[in-house]
Amino acid sequence: MSKRGITLYLHVHQPYRVRNYTVFDASIDHNYFNDTDSQSNHNNERILNKVADKSYRPMNALLEKLLATHPDFKVSLSITGTFIEQAEAWAPDVLESFKRLVNTGRVEIVSETYYHSLAFFYSRTEFERQVEAHKAKVREVFGVETSVFRNTELSYNDELAQWAEQYGFKGVLAEGWDPVLEWRSPNFVYSPEGTENISLLLKNYKLSDDLAFRFSNRAWEEWPLTVDKYNSWIEASIQDQPLINLFMDYETFGEHQWEDTGIFTFFEEFVERWLSNPDNTFYTVSEAIEAHKPVGKLSMPYTVTWADSERDLTAWLGNSMQQEAMRHIYSMEDDIVRSGDGELIADWRKLQTSDHAYYMCTKWFTDGDVHAYFSPYSSPYDAFLYYLNAIRDVRWRLHEDHKTGGLGG
């Protein structure tokens, strides 16, 4: 019988934030992402370095240490193309440390769209191009192939699983959301509806979000979270079940939960505690799928994500500004791709990153607090205007340089 395992999966991502790009810039200055103000919240280089100091460097050092100390420790990472590009340009040491992790053979890279986009919901051809681009980048940088897929923001439905199976993936990741699972537990492997050869891993959102969202919250009744307490919760959850899938943003460690909250020490001690029991182990996502047969079919006809209390796409596509922004960007696909203009295509794709739509979110209540924290703009309306002006400039370049498309959309 296989061991009881934790599947730790961390998502690594940085977008190319749009600078304060005005009507007066459109058609004049084609630089959307490079803010010359070194102190600006839209200066992507500054932000990457800030997060690298707080999160990527210390966490990768800790992961390296844990991998060296514990032969059973494993982790899976999805690393977006936009992150890799930024790390190549501004923090090559960080990228090197990720390579060392992957070279241990116990760190698996998970597939996703290169640009962390919502292309699956707008254009299947563009979506596949971005999946392929990500696969190629991972091959080039890390020298490995990917075999398990996760879509942006863990957005998932039956159609995505069917697509992933056809594309050749053996596994796909999703949120283990109660209203979908009903009486079922996320601590098993499932088989998506309408598929035969692909497995579904579900995030145990309670135990994941205890770390990702609640760890440092002093208003939380369980604060402070000790290793003893957390371990007892894991034990209670996994009883008679094979898996605990802990899926979260990589930046949980050091950026969302700062070092002074004790998150790094907590994590190190927890890994030791978990592995001190010889019945316990860690799985990569592929190993978890290989070690456990699906216990049954699971259907998610409607899109489920890992965001907000609704677990849907409303944080990205919930208001009309977000819908307009996505409509405009994807309506240009044919002309952009046909142009063959590498820079233009890259800029257009950087504008597809879902974070841009997230910054336009107007759900300002419980969930909105999170959005405000993660937004570099003073308001969602500003975020929308800058984005729209960048769209206009992309139209301008298509029109001027390639004689296609109209400026009016």
Binding site: F24, I28, M321, Q323, G408
Partner: protein, 403 residues
Amino acid sequence: MLGWELPPHNSGGLGVACYHLSKALALKGTSIDFVVPYSAPHDDIDFMNVHHATSLSPLHKFGMGAYDSSFIAQTINRDGVQGLTSIRDIQAQYGRFVEDFAQNNDFDAIHAHDWLTMEAGMKAKEISNKPLIVHVHATEFDRAGGSTGNPLVHEIEYQGLIMADRIFAVSEITKQIIVERYNIPADKIEVVYNAIDTLSFDANYRYDGRTYRYLEGLKQEGYTVISAITRLTIQKGLGNLVRALARAVEKYDRIVLLLAGDGEQRDELIQLASDLGISDKVFFTGFVRGKQWRDAYIVSDIFVLSSISEPFGLTALEAAHHDNALIITKQSGVGEVLHSIFRYDFWDVDRLADQLVGIATSPALKESLRRNVTNEYARISWYDVAHQCMSAYSSVRPVEVFA
């Protein structure tokens, strides 16, 4: 002359009107002492004496424009607590300055602009027994944009209008409001329209098409640029303009709207344009000045003054000067002095949409409107306005209201 602002320390049209009126009066030989409630150099003004009633810096630095009276309710109870911070405090100090001035100087008439200076004007009249002329550029009913407005401001306006020996209203619309809402006899009120001083535009200015290059690109593709150059505030009726654009786009989609300016309604308008699915047809510039401001008039083909209540609306004359076809609400006073324009009721979205499509699809119509309005706006001059004022100064005699 009692005013609240002069360029460049103005927050809008009131200061501009006061400046040009005073200049024209001075050129006709009138000697003017102009009192402003702040201290700041007015080096370019050599045609009159500018007096500074307080040592405060210009008002807009305190967020107290000449147009917004809503803050009074919040600050009036704090009199004295924070020193000279509320507009009532500034008005009180302004009043004491004018009182002193009236006691120690000789003059023939008192000309007070809007409610802000009316109390000071009444005091000056009481002391000097000289005629008080109250010049109404906007009433509290206009500023409130459909809501009731501030009762204290209404009260001051009412007193000022009662005590005035003569009232100048900037349009028939404003005159009607004074008659109907304040029960002032119509024969006490004279309509004195504003004018435009085309010589005041920078002669070195050149249009190079770069500021709004994207819009110029759209025009190359046959698009018509509609503009509103204004504060983005309820009184301006811009929601209906955006709705009309959406209606018009259903019929003819080669039109875009330039909204040049900023204000508390901006986010609402952005949201509205998105809700209507025309977000990429509306261009928000934020606050514009200098070349960006001037270029906005030039890139524009059709200028819309969509105000719910606009006593005059000088921007329409500026737009005419820059060769725009004009569409103006029936609730805007400037429409009374122009004829080659389209008019609509501020709420009539369908009618505005129809007019927009009509002009955008007919080059002949657009050219006729542009050309003909040019002849009309040019006839309105500040010298005529000054002449009208001087007649009043010499003919009006104070009514003995304080006896």
